[in-house]
Amino acid sequence: MTARTNLIVVVGFALACSGLVLMGHMEPQASWASLLAIWNDVIRDADDFGLQLTTVPDRDEVALGDSLASKIDQQWPNDADASRYVSEVAAALTPHVERRSLPWHFHVVRWPQANAFALPGGQIYLTEQMLSFTHSEAELAFVLAHEIAHVDRRHCIRRYQYEVEMNRIGLGTAGGAADLARIPMEIGYSKYQEMDADAEAARITADAGYDPHAGVSLMLRLAAGEKALRKAGDTPGGEAGDATVEALRDYLASHPASAERAAAVREQLAAAQRRLAGGTYASGEENLKRRIPVARRRFPR
């Protein structure tokens, strides 16, 4: 082909693509999210390379988790009844994870904020406020599955991994320093760990027979309390400037925006529509109210 023919092809292709774009529903957005994502990919790959080579055995991880949990239990009182109910709900979830052999423990603690977190070795914590924030057992299951996924994907142990591994050869301090040095790197991609955990939570809840869409409704309620700060620039420079500010804010944030998380989960569920079709998924509003797990009794809607 001649150069002129190639040019016509390229220009025609560009015009055709542009026409298609104009025909569809556009969602314009200006942000440096792509650069952040690429940067986080690079950092994460580099970080993971070392972490894959120094995987902590389960027994060491469990020991570390028990040690950390004992300290937390001393600080925050445990709600035994609530913990029991939550453990029963979680018992339906843990068979669907990779690390099934871990001794999973679930605690409901009295703390003034709605929050949930996980420790290495299968220690999962939920505050009473978070329990109150959920509207159904399926939502509770999503929260629990999210924290379980953090442990299952070794997100929790990574923060102590070098210290634990170096302790074997008497260089625990150096390992601790390496873990500290990792923290700034992990800041960038910790959001992606959250997204990964959400994705896993959706799968686990679905596999356990809970409505996987419950996670979306939970995220949307959380998003209602967050202010939308992003705005579109009205000039080329303003657009780039706003995008830079947003990128910095996103980079430093530990969690992605709840709306973004909800959209990602919804997108994932849409992609898995065929696989989910035909299954029966419990919501469990009444179960949550009565603190009776779905596994024991199903209430009519």
Binding site: A3, A14, S18, L20, V21, R44, D47, A197, L276
Partner: protein, 948 residues
């Protein structure tokens, strides 16, 4: 008091007499010395010297003495029989003579000259005091009579002594003092109450005039500037110390007038300057006039008379002066400083209107003076010194003062636009006068006057927000005056005989400021560009670099402002139609580019440089226009099309700079993808908008790579561009796959890309493509190793992970057979290419190793811990088995390495950790495989060399 004065005078006379005797004695000694030494020399110089020294008065002697002695020395040395001893004595005598003569000179000057004048001064002061003193025994008539007698006595004495050569100086001092005393006596006869014998002011004035006339007449007779000056000073001093001073400034008028006439008549320049100082000093020193005369008009009228007198004599000098500088050159500045200084000093007490009127009159007077000076000045002044042209006989200073005064009046009387208008008119009149009379100074003065309204306009521009409506258009209130200034400046630029660029630059700068003041921010850039286009046309039509340079500066500023404003949003009010503004600006700039490229009127270098600048601005403006006009996701595509258009235009016109702009715009489009395309949502018929907008840019990059490859002779930088476009295209594909397929699934896309790049690279024998393939392999390995066997949230479950991993591993093994065993590219000269060759040399060995590593890792995750050794051993065996027929040594080596790991594992882990059955199975399978491999190596030993 008088007695005391007389005693002092007598003592002074006696002392003077004794000094004169001593002088006489010394002169006798000199005479005798020289008479003895040079008696034999007829007509000797010494004799002549003696006679001369005795006969001449001291003052007259002082001058010829030195040359006479100098003349004497060669005369002595030329004596034929002069013996050395006598000559030595003669020289000593001459040295003594010099010392003696010098001492005598000093004494004679002080004694005969200075003391004479001081005495006269003191005496006249005494008479003045006497006349004003209220003695009970002597009435007014008596005082006047005493003063008159003393005056006449001094005059008579002076007249008698003036006739004798020896006492001439002394006599002249007495004459001067006598006249001054007589003058003051005449004044006192009316002006002093204690001595008032004349009641009629008219008679008194007549008497004063008569005395003044007497002075003049007498001065004309003696022609002694020093004596007359002394007399005048005595008179002025007497006026100044008088207790009755209401009339002192008035009385100074005829006195000064008489001095002016004397100076004029006898060309006594010193006396003119001294008279000026004394007259104004009298005005200042004299006590305040009586209350009924304390008015601005009275004081200013007197000052005006003074000024007029001295201005008149200075004007007269303008007509007759020579080239040589003299003390009288300072008359003009002194007169101006004194007149204006004293006037301003007393203006503070009076109303502003009166002051303005006087300022106006002064300005008119100085303009008139300047006109007269210009008329009287000789043509030769053009080459005279600046000081001469300015002050003595020149009109520069006069017209400058007039201009300054008129500016001051205008500033006091007017304000706002009227003031600016008036100042513009004044400046223009001066400038036009400069053109008409071909006087550069007037033009410069006009330009200086223009500075004032320019500063005022500048102040308006930054400080005033007042607006006026003209023909329904709202404009800043100073716009009409500013426009007039622009017109006047361009007119002056046109009239200027040497095409002065100052007015041209000033006019254009002011016009630019006018545009800035009246146009909204968002239109200013366009306005400046349009104005620059006009200037450019003017500059091109008149072949004037001046206007073209202005056009370039203003156009650059306009383009920069337009771009920065629209790109960064710095405008106070946002542009309601940015597309229209930018489109017009782009058209103007492209028009300029076309004209510059097609026209041949300009120098080649200028044409190229400016067209490059204009086209760069045009490209930037159009790119900004695209940003405004196109939807966000399509901006990058629009920029890409613009870049291609510029590149193709650059090829068509063989203009590398245009191609460079195209490359830059294309690079901008690539950057834009990261901001607004790679993470956007939206889709059409199931195709994401990300894909629809990024792929055209990638296609353009590959087109560029191909297009540049077809060009026969590329510069080095364009070869680098070609290579960069290839690498950028590949990079964008990798990144597009990352976002299109997701972080974890992207690895499959990269694997496919790796294979495609390698195949095309081999077919086209393109090292860059092959190296891109190897780098993609590294990327696949890194991503698979770190996270790809952890596919989160995969509803596809383990199968998806297996498929993903298998694809990557399979492609990696496939690439082993596609990669060249040895590089097919000839050794390249560049360092980068040498590095690429080095990478390729390791590719064939590295690919099977990383594929086997990934396979081992995948098995590690997918196979349960009990069967891992078995799985690895089988995989190793298969790899080795495949390595023989495929003749891939590193494939076999990687299989052997995997078997080695298995051997280590069965002893280090399986033996202690696994249960019995899996442990046994691991050992058996591994052992069997090892045997099989060993057998294969044994059987194929002979052919192994062929497989290597």
């Amino acid at each position: 008091m008088t007695f005391l004065l007389i005693v002092l005078l007598a003592a002074f006379v006696l002392w003077t007499n004794s000094q004169l005797r001593a002088l006489r004695r010394r002169l006798d000694e000199i005479e005798s010395t020289f008479s003895g030494d040079f008696a034999r020399s007829p007509g000797s110089s010494a004799a002549a010297l003696s006679a001369s020294a005795v006969d001449e008065p001291a003052e007259a002697r002082a001058r010829p003495e030195e040359p006479t002695v100098r003349e004497l020395t060669p005369a002595v040395e030329s004596l034929p029989d002069a013996n050395p001893a006598r000559l030595s004595g003669l020289r000593e005598g001459l040295a003594w003579l010099r010392r003696a003569a010098s001492d005598t000179d000093w004494e004679s000057i002080v004694g005969a000259n200075w003391l004479n004048k001081l005495g006269v001064l003191v005496l006249v002061i005494g008479i003045a005091l006497f006349l004003g003193y209220s003695l009970t025994r002597i009435g007014a008539m008596g005082r006047v009579g005493v003063g008159l007698v003393a005056s006449l006595a001094m005059l008579a004495g002076g007249q008698i002594l003036d006739g004798r050569d020896r006492y001439r100086i002394f006599g002249r001092g007495l004459l001067g003092g006598g006249w001054a005393a007589l003058y003051f006596t005449a004044y006192a006869a009316h002006g002093l109450a204690a001595a008032r014998v004349i009641e009629s002011p008219f008679v008194a004035s007549a008497l004063l005039l008569a005395v003044a006339a007497g002075m003049i007449v007498h001065s004309l007779r003696y022609r002694s500037e020093v004596a007359t000056a002394l007399a005048y000073f005595v008179a002025f001093f007497a006026l100044d110390i008088s207790e009755v001073t209401g009339f002192a400034p008035v009385a100074a008028v005829p006195l000064a007038a008489s001095m002016v006439v004397l100076a004029r008549r006898l060309r006594w320049e010193f006396i003119a300057v001294a008279g000026l100082i004394a007259t104004y000093a009298t005005y200042l020193i004299a006590p305040a006039p009586p209350p009924e005369l304390r008015s601005l008009l009275y004081g200013q009228a007197l000052l005006s008379v003074y000024w007029l007198m001295f201005e008149a004599i200075d004007l007269d000098r303008a007509r007759t002066r020579g080239e040589k500088a003299s003390i009288a050159d300072g008359m003009f500045p002194l007169n101006a400083i004194a007149f204006l200084g004293i006037s301003m000093f007393q203006w503070g007490q009076y109303s502003a209107h009166a002051v303005d009127a006087i300022l106006t009159c002064s300005a008119v007077a100085y303009f008139a003076g300047a006109f007269l000076r210009a008329m009287l000045a000789r043509r030769s002044e053009a080459s005279a010194k600046l000081t001469v042209r300015s002050f003595a006989a020149g009109y520069y200073a006069s017209v400058t003062i007039a201009a300054v005064l008129s500016v001051a009046v205008l500033c006091r009387r007017l304000g706002g636009s009227r003031l600016e208008l008036a100042l513009l008119i004044e400046g223009e009149m001066l400038t036009l006068a400069g053109f008409v009379f071909e006087e550069s100074y007037l033009r410069s003065l006009g330009a200086s006057v223009f500075v004032v309204p320019m500063l005022l306009l500048f102040d308006d521009a930054i400080g005033s927000s007042e607006k006026i409506a003209i023909a329904g258009i709202s404009l800043r209130d100073w716009t009409p005056v500013g426009s007039l200034a622009v017109a006047l400046f361009y007119l002056n630029r046109a009239l200027s005989p040497r095409r002065s660029t100052l007015y041209g630059y000033g006019a254009s700068a002011l016009a630019a400021v006018l545009l800035m003041a009246n146009l909204p921010d968002y239109l200013l850039g366009l306005g400046w560009i349009a104005f620059a286009a006009l200037l450019f046309e003017l500059g091109a039509a008149t072949d004037s670099i001046e206007f073209r340079l202005q056009a370039y500066v203003i156009g650059t500023a306009g383009g920069g402002f337009l771009l920065i404003g629209h790109a960064a949003g710095l405008f106070g009010s946002p542009d309601p139609r940015p597309e229209l503004t930018l489109a017009l600006a782009g058209l103007l700039l492209w028009g300029a580019v076309v004209q510059l490229r097609l026209g041949t009127r300009l120098a080649c270098g200028e044409s190229i440089a400016v067209s490059m600048l204009a086209s760069a601005f045009a490209a930037a403006v159009v790119a900004t226009l695209i940003w405004y006009a196109a939807p966000g996701p399509l901006v990058a595509v629009g920029w890409m099309l613009l870049g291609l258009a510029l590149i193709e235009s650059g090829f068509l016109t063989d203009w590398a700079a245009l191609r460079a702009e195209g490359y830059a715009v294309l690079a901008l489009a690539c950057g834009r993808l990261f901001l607004a395309n790679l993470t956007i949502g939206g889709e059409t018929i199931g195709i994401s908008h990300r894909l629809l907008t990024v792929t055209p840019v990638i296609a353009a990059l590959y087109y560029l790579y191909d297009r540049l490859g077809r060009t026969a002779s590329l510069e080095r930088w364009e070869r680098a561009v070609r290579r960069a476009s290839l690498w950028t295209g590949a990079l964008l594909i990798v990144i597009l796959m990352r976002f299109e397929l997701g972080r974890v699934m992207a690895v499959d896309g990269w694997a496919g890309l790796m294979l495609v790049l390698l195949i095309i690279g081999r077919r086209r024998n393109d090292l860059d493509l092959r190296v891109q393939s190897y780098l993609a392999a590294i990327l696949c390995f890194a991503r698979s190793w770190s996270s790809n066997f952890y596919i989160p949230g995969s509803f596809g479950g383990r199968e998806a992970r297996l498929i993903t991993g298998a694809i990557v591993i399979g492609v990696l093994y496939a690439c082993v057979f596609v990669a060249p065993r040895q590089s097919e590219t000839a050794p390249a000269p560049s360092r980068l290419e040498r590095w690429e060759l080095r990478i390729e040399s390791y590719a064939r060995e590295a690919l099977p190793i990383i594929a086997t590593l990934l396979l081992a890792l995948l098995l590690y995750y997918e196979v349960s811990g009990t069967m891992l050794t078995v799985a690895w051993a089988v995989a190793g065996g298969v790899i080795i088995a495949a390595g023989f027929p495929l003749r891939e040594r590193y494939l076999r080596l990687s299989g052997l390495a995997l078997l080695a790991v298995c051997i280590f594992k069965v002893f280090a882990y399986d033996l202690s950790q696994l249960q019995a059955l899996p442990r046994i199975l691991s050992f058996i399978v591994l052992g069997a495989l090892l045997l099989g491999v060993s057998l294969a190596y044994t059987r194929l030993r002979g052919r192994l060399d062929r497989y290597l």
